[in-house]
Symmetry: D2
Subunit: 339 residues, 4 copies
Amino acid sequence: MKYSFRNDYSVAAHPSVIEKLVSFAAEQNIGYGYDEHSNQARRLLLDKMQCNGDIYFLAGGTQTNMVVISHALKPYQAVIACDSGHINVHETGAVEGSGHKIITVAGKDGKILVSDIEAVMAKHTDIHKVEPKLVYISQTTEIGTVYSKAELKSLACTCKKYGLYLFLDGARLASALACSDATLADIAKYTDVFYIGGTKNGALFGEAVVITNPELKKGFDYHIKNKGALLAKGFVCALGFEALFTNNLYEEIGQKENECALFLKEELLKLGFKLAYNSPSNQQFIIMDQALAKSLEDDYGFEVFEELNEKELIIRLVTAFDTKISDCQNFIRTIMQKI
Amino acid sequence: MKYSFRNDYSVAAHPSVIEKLVSFAAEQNIGYGYDEHSNQARRLLLDKMQCNGDIYFLAGGTQTNMVVISHALKPYQAVIACDSGHINVHETGAVEGSGHKIITVAGKDGKILVSDIEAVMAKHTDIHKVEPKLVYISQTTEIGTVYSKAELKSLACTCKKYGLYLFLDGARLASALACSDATLADIAKYTDVFYIGGTKNGALFGEAVVITNPELKKGFDYHIKNKGALLAKGFVCALGFEALFTNNLYEEIGQKENECALFLKEELLKLGFKLAYNSPSNQQFIIMDQALAKSLEDDYGFEVFEELNEKELIIRLVTAFDTKISDCQNFIRTIMQKI
Amino acid sequence: MKYSFRNDYSVAAHPSVIEKLVSFAAEQNIGYGYDEHSNQARRLLLDKMQCNGDIYFLAGGTQTNMVVISHALKPYQAVIACDSGHINVHETGAVEGSGHKIITVAGKDGKILVSDIEAVMAKHTDIHKVEPKLVYISQTTEIGTVYSKAELKSLACTCKKYGLYLFLDGARLASALACSDATLADIAKYTDVFYIGGTKNGALFGEAVVITNPELKKGFDYHIKNKGALLAKGFVCALGFEALFTNNLYEEIGQKENECALFLKEELLKLGFKLAYNSPSNQQFIIMDQALAKSLEDDYGFEVFEELNEKELIIRLVTAFDTKISDCQNFIRTIMQKI
Amino acid sequence: MKYSFRNDYSVAAHPSVIEKLVSFAAEQNIGYGYDEHSNQARRLLLDKMQCNGDIYFLAGGTQTNMVVISHALKPYQAVIACDSGHINVHETGAVEGSGHKIITVAGKDGKILVSDIEAVMAKHTDIHKVEPKLVYISQTTEIGTVYSKAELKSLACTCKKYGLYLFLDGARLASALACSDATLADIAKYTDVFYIGGTKNGALFGEAVVITNPELKKGFDYHIKNKGALLAKGFVCALGFEALFTNNLYEEIGQKENECALFLKEELLKLGFKLAYNSPSNQQFIIMDQALAKSLEDDYGFEVFEELNEKELIIRLVTAFDTKISDCQNFIRTIMQKI
């Protein structure tokens, strides 16, 4: 295989992360996130966000979503999410496994609308139905789109109005920050809790949960351990965020990923391909002839996102911190030879 | 601080693990444990164990205990464990959080006796009580003791007789293998499921679950994801096991840890200290005057395991893959100067 | 108020049930369903169903659905249900609270189609998604429709093909039996587990769960207790089923309910009202002007099922074991006076 | 069998309860506890307790314990209970099934001591252990003893000091009220939530939960439904409490039960039998020769509480609302003939 566009977690870690790990590999640290690397990573993040949040490092995205949601809700309370939302489709029932219903809404372009929330609230008014209590969004969404600052603000207002928490899943936040006008500080301001993805943005593994709503801060450390999510060597995870939030590396990774993704998008449009979704970020969704897709598989990795019909499917191309424009050029060239 | 004997997960990873990671840091891998490093680690482990087990890599010990136990049991079924057992005391209710009662027994020397199991089974005979279904033991135990091969075999027979699963928590298995006559192959033979600890034995992080009982194999992959425990970059974890199970490194780590621990034990006995428990492994439990312990804290890290009375406490000294005899000698020398 | 068509659980119990209770009110019985009334009720039910099922008596419908589903599924497994299904809308997340995702399908006329199941199975093929394992249907459905024997048989075949359990919620089974060609014996034959509703069909309270699939029989008694659903005085509940299944009372109740419901339906159609759904059973869904509905509220109870627009809504009229044709005639007369 | 002293839930209901039920058997009521009988029962109870509590009627004791505890606690929080406590031994893991650890203490005479709570709090001080948050006691206890008003007050003070909720299980509260100086008003004052048992005190079935702590009031109605515990015909259950709390019937039942129990106790002591526990309430625990116990079984029902040795066992005799002194006399006479 020449290169895989299958996902953004194929490679262990960004060289700066590896370098940081190597340089501290012999050092003794305190366990469970009480160490100096975790504290330093927290300081770097809070500086960037200009907020007063509690920060915890967890191992992965599904885990983080489940831990945050089950912490925020009482057993009879539910999450509102897009029907395409990661927690609804790709997490093997982890949220329900922790005891909570996901109320799905259709949304638009992978994003929840204010009117979606209003409709849910209008229907959930007595004890025979769950009480909606948290809105789950992701930035970028499952189809690569992003919320603008204005959209986040509207959602935040609506949530406040109804007493709902707003939770943002930032698994692909680096890419989002590079193509939305919503900054990290905006996200910290408009949400009650969110996470900054590490796994898909160059860390060895791990996500940084940021809790800004004081109601949600209490007991979160206990809850992490209760769900089996407390890392003994928290510093191994935190080291990655230390590296990624030094010298704007996190932002650079997002920019570079998007640059590659937009190169692919434009070149494929030039070649006459159609987009399934119009994504500005590091995931591109291309409608492709099944035979062509099949013929590319030996040389390039990618995911079949959906079978459209007997002839066509949607492939997903994901760029990562290690993707080079030359990888994209080669991919385009290979396609040009086949069509 | 000169050296910390606080625990065996203070340092990122054994140099061989770091080296392996660095050498593959730029390589693209398939996600979720379907990659070649995971497969290679599985082969190395199965070779050593001479068994036909399914192997999965999870991020930490509490998580592994919770995922395995909640997979093995139906909601009305319970675990039998020592009252000192890690799942009962130090996991913030993770097992109960997944819905299962822990039936505790007193045991002896931190170990469950056949008679403990028999007594539990005699009492749990109708639908108003939970149905015991799994026996949880750890090797080494919470107080550093180990089960012999004969003891494991007896427990296994008793479990079989009552239709109980036997699950062994191997968080500190390297140390145990170096001081018990029970080999990895014996453990694979006598248990239904167990895990080989990585976090506390030189891996960056992670534990390798080995399922030998076919009843427990089905659906475990789904269950891992449902509990938020599936690692996207499974290969980062598996790389560690690849390194640790090459050239008997895992065994060597255990031997070296025990060597250091026994050096501490003997020297402290010579100095007139008493042991709280007679441990042959990498955890030593020393009864110490509170003032002396206090005076050591600036130079050496260790855990206060228990306050015995107003004058004395039990300190726990843990040796790790990076502990050197010279660290132990310095510690002994410091004590000698103070007494 | 002259009469309430709000639901079929407004009145304590059918006179025969009360009579049976009174006649045994001083008798000492064994607890927890091991008594002679429970056994007699079981015999009467099995006779009628011609099957070899295990029968348990639980207190209510939501409880029964949750207990059965959480018994049948492993944590990563999910239920397939109509989006209008009771478990999805009206149970305050009880099924999710027990840890399981509900995969919703649109269905047709409130009923799940074979093609719905096939579509779900086609999409759930890897460990990142829940594993569908049980199909939940109700007879009658939330909109009063019923599955025919042929439809049940098709669903059963499809379930068998995919290794899915078929679970039928018979909260309103008396009414269903009186308007579907599917008999109690058919239901016992085509499902793996189902329940015969008592609460909504003249019992003081309670539902009779019938488990025909041997896989689901084991441990159900323990599971009931684990979920807090074991009745100490099981005989008080069983007495009801003893009375209802003597002299075909259960069937008679269904017939009488339907007779009243169809009377309402026909008279309202004659008066020019439109039906929201074409129901053959004891729930009728009538599109009505909001002002008219409002004006009826003092004299008659009913539920507003849905607001259609600013002018119209759907009201639900439910007939019960105690409804008399004269109640219906009076209701119709009142309407005639108002339109 | 002449009479069964096996338990206090062998007979359907007290004649006054049956009579009340019969007199309202044809009446239409609102569902889910919003009806007039439920409201009337609430008024009667609040009058008696002189407090401002929220009152809910649930179907049984295990259910009530599980619903209350899982409502009060976050996932990482635990209950403190006597090791003999009903929730710890006789509820098939229902509390753990709802996700919570039970921390057991030895207690004295079946009762939790202030020092027990203090010891637990001293040990649970970091995130690796559960956070104790609720103390569960029962009145009467599993061995028939009762807390005095002074004891309740001390426990309440200790709970307040540590931020713990105090929850009292009143399954056998009628008997307790008749032999402790703690009144219903005292219990309402000193606990945060408790329940007044119906099932074991002459109701058809059901327990009345009284929540006095405002923190616990919010959302309890939703939580009941979420756990499958909401009764559609709440009025059937409430009717019982209406009857039991009219004309001091509840108190009378307790007095009469105790009168019979103490008669048994005294006569058996006169005959030279020894008590396993010194109970002032409707459960008596008698040490008896196995052969004698065996020989009584044809004529009298009772539970073997524990096998003491090869020769002796403890039998439990329970008196109920329907027990007559003549039943007790006959029992004593039968024994006299045999010894």
